[in-house]
Symmetry: C4
Subunit: 255 residues, 4 copies
């Protein structure tokens, strides 16, 4: 069967590695292309990479749709495995990876939208996710700790709001242009609580400095919270396999 | 019974979500209102949100007092469940959320105090705490590790004092305006130990740089301490429930 | 016996709390005193606190020497519990807390040494350690993880040296005044690896930026290492007490 | 046997400590030598240290090759323990430590290459690794967590790329000289995600600030991930040895 053969070719080690490499080349090209000098000097190379990639990714996308019914992992919707692939996460990623090229050929866009469409090429990087099976460990940990992490985010939001409001009242008079509104002092609050501290905004009044010191110290606890939560989850997730081997059941002696 | 009906309405999913949403709108409005341009342009909208919120929060507060005796969770004081609610944490929060509006109507204040009273609107955010039941996990961990965290804070205080005193003597001559007193160099010490590093104050002498490098390196251990403490507590608190379920022996079914 | 009575007074809750408070007042005074304005305005207050504290601390020191033989915890040396106290850690701390006051009365010093002697007043803060018994948990953890932490420090030293050497060669030409020697670029390396990032020194060349980015990313792992080590040690140290209660011995049934 | 005697001398405590100390002196000299003033003033001292070290390290290298067949730990290749040593990690390190001195005597180099060759003296620090046996604990932990850490690095790369691409489009117009290309905004992304925050590049537009705040907050999770992974691995690696000793039942003596 021709379809089965194409399916096997598409999932062969060679083709997989080739697409994997092409994605990496695309990412590098995308980064280098924004450099004005390089864009002018190597314009034809960038164009070649783009046209070549579009060709390969389009072929890949069409083959994946065609051979979807040979794939066991795909859940069918609307009684169809093909629709199942098209509307799956990686199906959509595969489409978005090529769509920005074909869309302007059908509908004429103005330059503004064209520019945003070019951004979508970035999503090609998400195609890499398909080839990595080890994400699952980290994904499980994040899923398991979701309620605690959500609370942490909620606490962080309240902390950010409270500190930026207080800071606004403390520093507004001394630095009206830097702490002109609470949304402005939110920028300071994020930079302080995350300990980034760019240095573009910082308190100058004594009250502001005292508040800032207090918030920076709390920021350390704020870093400690998600770390503690994730640590405990990783211990849960990475250890059990060892444990089940090591611990003999005290009742029946088997492991 | 009318009271029971009102109690049920107050605790219905719809009313709960409505108040929840209203609090969030209040927080957003509070942030946006401090932006001068927005305050002028959307003055009437901000006023409407404020008056409407005060109306709802006042009604909510009065209803909560009235229906307090239908609530099982409230502990009564002075032989009264109503007094129990009024002096409970969320009872006080509910009052503080509306009081800054009504107080100036009774007693005339000068502008200075009015401004501070406006700050109290911020505490409306604490009303959100009522709707979140998942805080408990994190609260337990913090309560359990309180003695260790207190020691960490104590060690941090000594570190901050020692380093800012030494730094004052090292840098005072070279930068008399930035390290003018120990309380001034405390500001530097906090920015360094928490690794925020705004860049408004930094040592320029060799001795100062050496001290600063030493303190920054200790700062990493200082971040590591609370993280380690919290991690171990989270492991204690989040795991046991799973363990009792999971640890059944797969061979004999016993635990 | 008079000595026993004095011993009991010295270790009574009231006297303990009084000395505890006096130490805190001393620390606050030390910080405030460096503020030029406050020193001029409240000169007599600072002098009163100093003379009063010296009086109390001297009396305390002499009483502790005299009553040392009533104390069970003190290990005697030279066949004497008094010598044991005098040469113990807190005995030396107690002496250093008052010595800088009496020494200039005996030997005349020049101003330079006088200034350093004033610094010794800071060590009064160490007297606080006597009243805290909860340090032990953290002290045990640090002692237990010492070998791993020492290795971390060693790795950090190599990282700092390697990165500052490479950075020196990368940035020396572009910024000869900021990266004038390896010891200068060590200052940059510490600021980057600890993620403090004051912003007084940063790379401007492409190679320097690439190196810096690489080192900053490694810095995260460098923060993660001691945290992970301390976490695991805290779990070891804080849990066992619970464990010993919960876990019945499978052999004899006792806990 | 002469060779055995030399082997024993080479591995004696005295010679080991001497070489250990010489490496440390070399590192300190390397750092100080880059200081222009010191280089001029103490030129002869630096030259003496260099010639003396080269002499010792060359003798050590030759002796190690000669006595390699007396060493049990060395795996032979090409049927030879000597080749096994020469091509082992520390064999190569030992060679690189002296090669930059002898190479220019054989082949004449221009100044540019000479300068890079001088850099190789830095690798003498790696000779220290031979004397530390406690690296193993940390090495095991890193080896064990390699797959998870690799994923973390991969996630970090995607985060860095996504955020710098978005930031490039957000800030390019407002700050064309600082966000001139994606590779330029990568520098910003690293400084933010690692919370270093030098302050040389930061967003000024509202959209840029919003993105930056978002990325800084994610940065905290990004620090938490490797820490959590390493913590759980350390618990696995550092505890078991204690457990088997401690877990004896205090009542019946059995484990």
């Amino acid at each position: 069967m021709l379809k089965k053969q194409f399916y096997n070719i598409l999932h062969s080690v060679l083709v997989t590695k080739f697409i994997y490499g092409l994605i990496l080349i695309n990412v590098v090209a995308l980064v280098l292309e924004t450099n004005q000098e390089l864009r002018v000097d190597y314009n034809s190379s960038f164009e070649f990479i783009e046209y070549f990639s579009i060709g390969i990714f389009t072929m890949e996308y069409l083959l994946r749709i065609w051979t979807a019914d040979s794939h066991n992992d795909i859940k069918g919707i609307f009684n169809s495995k093909r629709a199942g692939y098209i509307f799956s996460f990686y199906g959509l990623v595969d489409m978005i990876a090529i769509l920005p090229f074909f869309l302007p050929l059908i509908i004429p866009f103005d330059l503004r939208i064209m520019r945003i469409l070019r951004l979508f090429r970035l999503f090609r990087i998400l195609k890499l996710g398909r080839y990595s099976s080890s994400f699952n460990g980290i994904k499980n940990v994040l899923k398991e700790t979701k309620p605690q992490l959500v609370i942490t985010i909620f606490i962080a939001s309240i902390l950010l709001l409270l500190s930026s409001t207080l800071m606004f009242y403390a520093e507004n008079e001394a630095q009206p242009e830097k702490f002109s509104s609470i949304s402005d002092s939110l920028w300071w609050a994020v930079a302080t609580l995350t300990t980034v501290g760019y240095g573009d905004v910082y308190p100058v009044t004594s009250l502001g400095k005292f508040l800032s010191a207090f918030i920076a110290l709390i920021g350390i606890g704020f870093i400690a919270l998600p770390t503690g939560i994730l640590s405990s989850a990783f211990i849960d997730n990475l250890k059990p396999m060892d444990d089940s081997i090591k611990r003999a059941c005290p009742h029946c002696g088997k492991r």
